[in-house]
């Protein structure tokens, strides 16, 4: 086994992905991914999940199909993605060009005591995504590749899947709003104006 470089810092990674976010619509998976996106700066075009484990990519898919001219990204953890792994097949079948799925992969269930996920035992989500027909680059391990990914999120030539190897450091939680109806209406107004 060759030595790998140090793993990426999750907060720095997410902040870089969203630094020049343009009109990107962001859906976050429960737990740390939600806190990371909140830490990068609240925005009406963020939809934070606090539960619904396994549903992040599916929710982003429905949004991407409804808004085909806007880039949509799901940012979630490896635990959530493993629970919703079937969604990668659904995305592969639908081929939404404007959808990206970004996994912050620390090989841990971070909210519950850092128990190892299946990734820690050798499962390869990037390989799964490729087999499902998503465009999936090699696992991302450095900030240059994160910068390249940040630009790709705005190109609508997907569906794109990116697995980012992050360290398992536990940050203080940055809690966004938990009021679901408010988040829902705020998001819809940001995307649709005052649509009924």
């Amino acid at each position: 086994m060759t030595d790998n470089p140090p793993l990426l810092d999750r907060r720095e990674t997410v902040a870089r992905l969203l630094r020049d976010r343009g009109d990107l619509l962001v859906v976050t998976g429960l737990g740390s991914a939600t806190y990371d996106v909140a830490a990068a700066g609240d925005d009406p075009r963020n939809f934070y999940l606090w539960g619904a484990m396994g549903g992040t990519a599916a929710l982003a898919l429905g949004l991407a199909l409804a808004q085909p001219n806007r880039p949509v990204v799901a940012i979630t953890g490896d635990g959530d993605m493993l629970m919703g792994m079937g969604t990668l097949a659904t995305i592969g079948a639908k081929q939404p060009a404007n959808l990206s799925v970004v996994v912050l992969d620390n090989e841990r269930y971070g909210e519950t005591g850092a128990q190892p996920t299946a990734i820690a035992h050798g499962v390869n989500l990037t390989g799964v995504a490729r087999a499902c027909g998503l465009d999936a680059p090699e696992d991302i391990r450095d900030m240059n590749a994160v910068g390249t990914l940040a630009e790709r999120l705005h190109r609508t030539d997907g569906p794109l899947f990116a697995n980012i190897k992050i360290d398992a450091r536990d940050y203080p939680r940055v809690l966004p709003a938990r009021d679901g109806p408010w988040l829902r209406s705020r998001f819809r107004e940001a995307v649709l104006g005052n649509a009924p």
Partner: protein, 173 residues
Amino acid sequence: MSKSWPDSLFDVLLRQKVRQIAYVPDAGHSRLIDLCTANPDMETTVLTTEEDGIALLSGAWLGGDRGVLLMQSSGVGNCVNMLSLLENCRMPFVSLITMRGEWGEFNPWQAPMGLATPDVLTRMNVQVHRVDEPDLAAPTLEAAIAQSYDGMLASAVLLSQRLIGRKDFEAED
């Protein structure tokens, strides 16, 4: 001769401007799925599991699309925790559910969720409308869509197995 009930349901989807259909199939939904898939203005997504449809259609609504989830009663069991998304966000939601395990069903493995479906949905704050008469399928779906999307509610229309027709073990579907 009047239209068949699946054709009438399709007319309701068009009239109510439902654009996204997500489904895990049932033989009872096959005609409606075919009609939706053939319509170029509809976005039809086949799921690997039913709870994905709840998340998917919530995303669709966030992006401005109305949706309906098609599934059979066994799929309701797969949905339970994901229904919390609807309640926590007061997402409008409609599911059209074909009932299995309740009327001459050949497969006993369909019986538990057939029996539990109305209670499970009700416990998760989904309004349940059961339809036993073919002529009432379309008006019930139309009422459910209007009420859900006007009032930010989750609702389910259960099409009884008697209405759909008993699934025959010997038949091809």
